[in-house]
C-alpha cells in the first residue's frame, strides 16, 4: 500500500497526541512503609559464617536438604545440606567473598567476608507489581512480601522481575511453586521471630521494627572502628548482648534506598558490589513501568484513540486502493 506522506503524518500525530494528553499517574503509594513494618538487619562484620541461620531456616520452614554434587555423587539424601545458592529448597544462604589469600576478615583486598542472601522484602516490590494473579502480596502492616501458592499460575514472571534473583521455581515438580523467604510470617503471627535471627549466636542477624533497625544501622556507622560495642542478639531491642569489636564499615546501609528501599538491611566492611549485591537506583522498576502503563492505558483513552487512528489509516488505504483500481480499469 502506498501511503502518502500526509496520511502518514496524520497517523503519527494522532498517536503522539494520545501519549501526551493522558494524565500521568503515580504508582500506588507502596514506597511509604507503615510504622509497624518489620525487617532484618544483617551485619556482615559480625557474622562468623557458622550457618546456624541456614539450619534454623530449614527447620522453621520444613524444607528438605538441597541436593548438591556431594549428595548426588554419594547418593545420600537429607544427610548433608550444601546448596550453592538460593534454590527451591533453600530460602537463606550464607556465601563467601574471598580475595587473594583471604587471610583477613572484612577486608576487601586479600581478605574475606560472609554475606547472607535472602528475600529483601522491598518497600516497592517488583515481584508484587508484575505478578498477573496477585500471588505475591505485600502485607500493609508488616510489609512482608508473602506468596500464595493457591493463586500462582507458574508463569515465573516474578523470577525475571526480581533484581536480586530471589524467587526460585520448583522446576522438578510439574505443579511447582515459587519459593522465597517470607520472614517467617507464620512464626511472627504467633509472637515469635524469624528462625535466622533466633539462631544467630553473634547478633549478625537481628529482627525488629525496620525503622529501629535503620537507626541501629546508622548508629553503627557512626561508631569508631576498634572500639567494643555490645551488639544486640536476636532482636534490635534485646537485653541479650554480645561484645564484639567494631569494624570499619563501608559508610552506607544497603537497602536504605535500593530500588525504593528494602526491609532487609545490610552492613558490611567490603563494598556491596563485591558481595554480589546489585547497584540499583533509588526507585524500583515497578514505579517506572507502572507509571508508563498506567499513563498509557488510563481509562483506555489512549488505546481507543490509537485504534481510531489505525481505523482511519486503514480506511484511507482502502480508499486509495479502490481509486487506483478504478483508474486502472478506466485505462
Amino acid at each position: 500500500m502506498k501511503l502518502e506522506r500526509r496520511d502518514f503524518m496524520k497517523v503519527i500525530s494522532a498517536g503522539a497526541v494520545t501519549a501526551t494528553t493522558a494524565k500521568t499517574v503515580r504508582s500506588e503509594a507502596r514506597t511509604a512503609l507503615s510504622e509497624d513494618a518489620v525487617g532484618i538487619l544483617y551485619d556482615a562484620t559480625v557474622c562468623i559464617g557458622c550457618k546456624a541461620c541456614e539450619v534454623a531456616c530449614k527447620e522453621y520452614n520444613d524444607m528438605p536438604s538441597s541436593s548438591s554434587y556431594v549428595n548426588d555423587q554419594f547418593e545420600v539424601k537429607n544427610v548433608w545440606d550444601s546448596p550453592d545458592d538460593l534454590d527451591a529448597k533453600t530460602l537463606n544462604k550464607i556465601k563467601l567473598y574471598k580475595d587473594g589469600d583471604g587471610s583477613v576478615k572484612d577486608r576487601e583486598k586479600d581478605g574475606f567476608s560472609y554475606i547472607k542472601r535472602a528475600c529483601m522484602h522491598c518497600a516497592d516490590p517488583d515481584c508484587v507489581s508484575v505478578c498477573p494473579v496477585t500471588a505475591l502480596t505485600k502485607d500493609p502492616v508488616t510489609g512482608i512480601v508473602s506468596y500464595d501458592e493457591t493463586r500462582c499460575c507458574g508463569c515465573r514472571y516474578c523470577q525475571i522481575a526480581c533484581q536480586y534473583l530471589i524467587p526460585k521455581f520448583e522446576y522438578d515438580d510439574p505443579l511447582g511453586q515459587i519459593q522465597k523467604c517470607q520472614l517467617c510470617s507464620h512464626v511472627i503471627a504467633e509472637g515469635g521471630i524469624p528462625g535466622c535471627c533466633e539462631a544467630c549466636p553473634t547478633g549478625a542477624s537481628i529482627y525488629g521494627n525496620v525503622h529501629d533497625l535503620l537507626d541501629e544501622a546508622h548508629q553503627r556507622l557512626d561508631m569508631t572502628p576498634g572500639t567494643t560495642y555490645d551488639f544486640p542478639v536476636r532482636m534490635v531491642d534485646s537485653k541479650d548482648r554480645a561484645s564484639h569489636e567494631v569494624h570499619e564499615y563501608v559508610n552506607y546501609v544497603y537497602g536504605e534506598s535500593e530500588g525504593g528501599g528494602t526491609q532487609y538491611l545490610i552492613l558490611s566492611a567490603v563494598p556491596f558490589g563485591e558481595l554480589g549485591l546489585p547497584n540499583l537506583p533509588d526507585h524500583s522498576n515497578a514505579s517506572v513501568t507502572e507509571k508508563l502503563q498506567h499513563s498509557l492505558y488510563k481509562g483506555m483513552i489512549a488505546p481507543a484513540a490509537l485504534f481510531v487512528g489505525l481505523l482511519y489509516a486503514a480506511h484511507q488505504s482502502v480508499k486509495y486502493h479502490n481509486r487506483s483500481d478504478e483508474e486502472g480499469a478506466d485505462e
Binding site: 562468623i48 557458622c50 550457618k51 550453592d84
Partner: protein, 389 residues
Amino acid sequence: MSRPDVTKIHRNIGQYHTGEMDRRGVSRRDFIKFCTAMSAALTLPFTFAERIAAAVTDPARPPVIWLHFQDCTGCTETLLRATHPTVESLVLDIISLDYSETLLAAAGHQAEAAKQATIDDFEGKFILVVEGSIPTKDGGIYCKIGDKTAVQILEETLPKAAAAVAIGSCASWGGIPSSGPNPTGAKGVTEVMPEAKTPVINLPGCPPSPYNLMQTVVYYLTMNKLPELDKKGRPKFAYGSIIHENCERRAHFDAGRFAEQFGDAGHRQGWCLYKLGCKGPETHANCPSILYGDVGSGAWPVGTGHPCFGCTEEDVAFTKPLHQQAAVAEVVPPAFYPHIVEEKGKGLSIGAAAVVGAAAGVAGGAAAMMAKDLRKQDEEDEQTNEKAE
C-alpha cells in the same frame, strides 16, 4: 613412612640402660615404643626414633633445674600425671632433674647448695624450667626463696642456662596472678628479662599438657636445637593452630548446631559450645589432639561439656568472661562455602555452536528465499493485472 631400625636402637640402648629399665619395669620393647611415639608426636619421620633413643640414653645428658615462683604447682602436677613414659622412672632419669622444690627430698640450705653446685658445674649446659610468674612490684618482695626475690633468682640463673622453658601460662605471660588488678606486678619470664641471650620457650596452658614439655625437651636433646617457635615463643607443633581447627565438635559448629544452655537437648548431644562462650576459636593449643590424663577420648574441657576458656592466651584467659562469646580468629575459610558467583555448566561447546550456527543459517537462507519468492510473486501478479487491463 619408614619404620625405625630396631636393631640400631637395640645397639644404642646397651646393657646398662636395659638393666636400669628392667629394674623399673620398663621393657626394651616399651622403650622403643616410647621413642617411636615421641618421634610421631614431634611429627618427625619414624627413623628419628633411633636418634631419640640415642639422645635420651646418652650418659652425658644435661641436668634440669626447675624453679618455682608464683605458682600453684599445677604444672609440676601435670607432669607427674604423664603415663607414657611415667615421669619418675624414665623422664626424670633422662633429663636428670637436679632441683625441684616439689620433688626434692632435701630442703633448706642443703637444697640451695645442691642447686648452686649444679649451676656452677654445668654452666651453659643445663636446661632451666620456670614455673609460676615473677612479681616485680615493690622490688619483687612478694616471692622470696632463700632470702632472694624471684627476680634476683631468675637474673642469676637464666643467663647461665643453655635453654629455658617457661612452663605454664604464669611463667609464659603472667597467668592468674597477673589478671586485673595484678597487685604483685606479676610477669612472665620473657617480660622480666627480655634481653636475655638464653633462648626461652613458652609453653602456656593452665595447666599445660606434660607431653608438650616432654616433646620439647626430647626434641632439644635429639636435634640440639629448639623446635620452631611462633611469635610468642611457643613451639609451633603444639601451639600452631587454634583449638577450633581440631575440635571434635567442629562439625556441629559448621552445621549450626549449638548448645544454648547447660543440660539442654543440644548440650546432651555434644553440640558446639560456642554460644556458651567457648574460646576455642581464638585459643592456640593442641588440647583436642592430645587430651589430658590419658583416660580416653573426651578428656579435655570441651569434651566433658564445658566451653574452653582460653587458658593459653594472654588476652583471653582470666580476662574475658567465661561465657562471653569468642572472636573467631582469622583463619582462611575452608572450601565448602559457596562463592558469590558459582560457575554452573560448561559453556558453549564446539559441537553445540556448530549446530546452532547451522540452524541459524538455514533459517536465514529460508527467509531470504521466501522474500525473493514473494517479490517475484508480486511482480507476476502486477504483470497479470496489467495484461488484464
